[in-house]
Symmetry: C2
Subunit: 383 residues, 2 copies
């Protein structure tokens, strides 16, 4: 048998610890035997690893289930509650926040309305209140925060500066990452809101289990988020998913077919206009149906471009107009059938207004996993 | 110190062996100390791993360099020459083949002209001759072949059946993977030719080192290959990269601007027509320049669609027309600057006609790496 040296041994031990945490994260409590089976370690080695992880604070023993017969087996779980993650969705009209444990299980949610034209400081204060609200609801303090992940409307640089935001004028040019790092002392991640929505749909929503997903944000503004090989696709300069900028893709003005339809009552606020058209189309109004047809004609061009380029397993229809998915899905499918080489599944978002905060939480949890599992250093004691 | 059991030990040993092979693959011969440094193992452990790998046949000792002073250090290398990989490019007019060692270093190349309308059996015979030629040139036999990777024109199913090929009529509907598995007893991989060209450019050509690349195959037929996160992007149904199918992307008929230009002499063969227009444009002919402008206008629409969707680091112009990259690159860049959110680098292919065979070799070498490094089984003796 090979002679093993100290360096090799600590390498093996670290590998085993990470394998064990990975097996425990997101799973319920596991017995030593179940853990040994999942990690491929021998039971005695597994026991040593578990003892070490308990000592470091990453893992804890769970009291035996009540009513267990005989001598109950020890069960272990990842201490998901020893820290928390916050996801924030910064939109034109609302700031939403959610707080989860380290496994991404959501413990509290808040929403703060804000006006699109509100000055910068007002929106930042709303973010602060949304997060404080989550902490209060879940009985946590800012010191428990490990990661804050933020989804925002607008075009971002890779470093988290907002290049341009049509929905929030005060956002354009803002060093959002810098501002948020002043507000939160933990790690801060920034991503485009449609990309986070795509991630949430692929993890827990309409596209659960799919590794290649095109998420369509359809509403007054059009956006997309791409999941490629299971991961959010940002692009080299964080500018992926901007098919709306191509006039030939016919997305930019597409919502005007709905907004400008003559079934919309005079004096309707711009953000409510499309809703009237979609409702009238549902009721069979021929004028509204024609407007929906023209809208879907345009929507299908940009969508077909993405489907032809990426050949995704699924297309998910999200965003404000997806509340009328019953009116939109069938005609969209029909046009894609004609335009695409291989027809993907086309489904409506199941997470609705929550999809960006959920995606932010999933993004933060993924980031934690990567930090844990790509580090070459031995595990530190839990903070 | 933890007590280690047999199962854990063999796991560690396997991990160490694979780490050592990975360090040696593609690198020159390494001394024990250099290997230990790259793998993070202690020198004595490294010696044990090296001895075991020599015994299994994966690694060999290299004779000391002539003229070395003092006692020369032992040096080891991966036995890249103990097997070989073949890459094949099946096009309308040619079958090309290349043979490499297991590191992807090319040892022989052949080309067999074939007519686009040639019957199936004739093209298969040309493939056979191209491969036999490579084997003869490099003094190898069919028994040395580990993997044959094939790039073909046409649309493929994930299993390697040709759904449609405009360039090779006899190819449409063919179970190409099945046919080639009858011809070669080793592993056979099939991929679209533009995707393999993209891989070659990202590994050894114009886009070397870039992990997100859009490869444009511009010629009489238009195609694309996408490299996303360092890997060939196939899509869920192996249908990615087909932007040419979208009429609004204006690719399908784009070559007609060059083919139908009035500077082309009457009676020119269709495959030579565009060359006249491109040459006349290079010489400043205003009619040819106007045709090139219209061509690039159309080329830029489909290209901008892909750039806006993916935000790649680089766009590589390949295919037959890329021999006139000097005429095409500047106007293409100018249009993309206007249409794109973030401008990628735009470069001409540096591998030219060889790019598909090179990509096929790289694809086979990647496949071998994955097989070696994702297997849970201990290393088998080298075949």
């Amino acid at each position: 048998m090979a002679n093993l040296r100290g360096g090799d041994l600590s390498r093996l031990r670290q590998l085993n610890s990470l394998t064990a945490i990975r097996a425990l994260r997101g799973a319920g409590p596991l017995t030593l035997s179940a853990l040994a089976e999942r990690t491929g370690l021998s039971r005695p080695s597994m026991k040593e690893v578990a003892d070490e992880l308990m000592e470091l604070g990453w893992v804890e023993e769970v009291p035996p289930s009540p009513g267990t017969m005989g001598r109950p087996a020890r069960r272990y779980r990842f201490r998901a509650d020893s820290g928390c993650l916050v996801g924030i969705d910064i939109g034109g009209h609302n700031v939403r926040a959610a707080l989860s444990d380290l496994d991404g299980e959501i413990l509290a949610e808040t929403r703060q309305p804000v006006l699109p034209g509100a000055p910068l400081e007002e929106r930042l204060a709303a973010i602060d209140r949304a997060v404080s609200g989550c902490l209060a609801l879940s009985g946590r303090s800012a010191a428990d925060l490990w990661t804050v992940a933020v989804g925002t409307t607008g075009v971002l640089t890779p470093e988290g500066r907002v290049t341009f935001s049509a929905a929030i004028p005060a956002w354009t040019g803002l060093d959002l990452a810098g501002k948020l790092r002043e507000m939160f002392s933990c790690q801060v991640l920034i991503e485009n809101d449609s990309r986070l929505a795509a991630l949430a749909e692929a993890r827990r929503g309409a596209a659960q289990g799919a590794r290649n997903v095109v998420f369509l944000h359809v509403g007054r503004r059009m956006g997309t988020g791409l999941i490629i090989d299971g991961k959010v696709h940002r692009g080299f300069g964080a500018a992926a998913g901007e098919i709306v900028m191509l006039p030939e893709a016919r997305w930019y003005d597409a919502p005007e077919h709905l907004n400008g339809c003559e079934v919309v009552p005079e004096g309707t606020a711009p953000e409510d206009a499309a809703g009237y058209t979609l409702a009238a189309a549902r009721d069979g109004d021929p004028v509204a149906l024609a407007a929906v047809d023209r809208y879907v004609d345009d929507l299908a061009v940009g969508t077909a471009a993405m489907v032809l380029v990426l050949d995704p397993q699924m297309v998910v229809l999200g965003g404000g107009f997806s509340r009328s998915a019953d009116v939109l899905l069938a005609p969209l499918r029909e046009r894609l059938e004609r335009a695409c080489m291989r027809m993907p599944e086309v489904r409506a978002s199941t997470l609705g207004d929550e999809c960006v905060v959920m995606g932010a939480i999933d993004y933060a949890a993924d980031h934690l996993s990567r930090e844990l599992f790509t580090s070459d250093a031995p595990l530190a004691p839990m903070r």
